[in-house]
Symmetry: C2
Subunit: 235 residues, 2 copies
DNA sequence: CACAAGAACTGGTCGGACCAGATTGTAATG
DNA sequence: CATTACAATCTGGTCCGACCAGTTCTTGTG
């Protein structure tokens, strides 16, 4: 039994990826610029070519670079061709400080996804679904006392994801998971702003509306909550 | 200039990934089951452990397996913990035959994303934005004669993505790109159903509404288009 | 000057050696 | 007999160096 479940220590690959993504996101090169070859970088950094290659694969998945096989690696126009992973990479590096515009876009999408799921769940909810949500809520309430920000945020995320799972629209769950990293950043901020007690109360109100099969009410609760959050954020 | 940009031939890693994802998606194992160790699989398939490891990294990114370091690799509950990459993997394997439920969820999201972008663009459009869209449309019209399904679908995707880019809400573009693979499957189906001429006409109507700064009109055109598509699909 | 051969790149693949954490089996200890 | 301590042996994780196959640039030949 170890008190620290894992403390893997940064690997060379992780170092490389972090270093490169920082440099690219900081604008060290312009989109379209050609990067040094894998061999050059490997020699310069004193690591193996395989590590560099594997790192670039990851950077390509993040949408930060474009690999032209046998030809070269180029800085990508990530604001045009990037994807969710790009956003996650930005969230990871810039910490919890996302721009307002980013927040707005994310919340628009969350409303679309979770709103759809809420309406569906209200129609088809079974008694055990409601019980399950209540159990999750009380687990969060117990956890809130110890107040580990990140952990609490994770549980709020899971509570809302459960809406998608229970709704039966499994695809929505996949989309929800896709936004996991960026959602955590949101929840940390939300909990700081409103406090856990308020947030937990809202979970219970959601549960009641689901139990009453009030789809529109649940949707509106979500929508007004988001609108209020954005209004507060404006200041 | 070569007519065939690339025909790389399947690598051992690709083979491995395809083989494993097929097996998992086909339900050969249950979620939570432990897979054979990297060494066993490498020996069995006659390939290097590095290849297997790299392949599993990719499968983990697709949400199909969960890697517990130093312990084992397990089949993931991908319908619960999967992400967009999982969906893309499914779309890749099952071809263009996505289930109706999947299509509905995707279109719900597209409406949320693109609808938001449309409204924003109608507000802030500049004359050159409209001209740009018109240029894209006529390029598509020229292309439609040669009628390569996949290529045409790609251009329709790009046209609609351009809405997001021009709207200035760059984050929406990232989400749009995330759905690229699955969107292509949609557009191929759409074009088969309605034909290119009809689809191109719609692009022009969108452009006119944007020029007239009619945000609601543009949104409704999108919404009714999607609704009609779903209605037809019902049959 | 045109153009093709080839040298010198590029990224892509691969196997095997080594590392360290996790697990399991076993033997010593109370 | 239960418990603990420890070591053998699993696991995935990392890394290197060699090799492969396209791409691009240089160079020599007509």
């Amino acid at each position: 039994m170890n008190q620290e479940p894992k403390r893997p220590g940064p690997t060379k690959k992780e170092d490389f990826v972090r270093r490169m993504s920082r440099a690219i996101l900081a604008g060290k090169w312009n989109p379209g610029d050609r990067l040094p070859s894998e061999r050059e970088l490997a020699a310069e950094l004193g690591i193996g070519k395989t590590v560099v290659h594997s790192g670039f694969e990851q950077l390509a998945a993040m949408g930060l670079v474009e690999i032209k096989p046998k030809s070269g690696i180029f800085v990508a126009d990530y604001m045009r061709n990037g994807n969710i992973e790009t956003l996650n990479a930005i969230a990871r590096l810039k910490g919890d400080e996302l721009g307002r515009e980013v927040i707005v876009a994310i919340l628009d999408l969350r409303l679309a996804i979770e709103g759809t799921a809420l309406r569906a769940l209200c129609q088809g909810r079974r008694p055990e679904d409601v019980a399950h949500l209540r159990a999750l809520t009380s687990a969060i309430r117990a956890l809130a006392r110890r107040s580990d920000e990140k952990e609490l945020a994770e549980h709020f995320f899971r509570w809302h994801r459960e809406i998608c799972i229970l709704s039966g629209k499994s695809i929505l769950t996949l989309f929800m998971n896709t936004m996991h990293e960026v959602s955590i950043a949101f929840w940390v901020n939300y909990l700081r702003m409103y406090g856990p007690a308020f947030a937990i109360d809202r979970l219970e109100r959601f549960t009641e509306l689901i139990e009453a099969r009030d789809g529109e009410g649940a949707y509106n609760l979500l929508a007004t909550g988001i609108a209020d959050y954005l209004a507060r954020l404006g200041k």
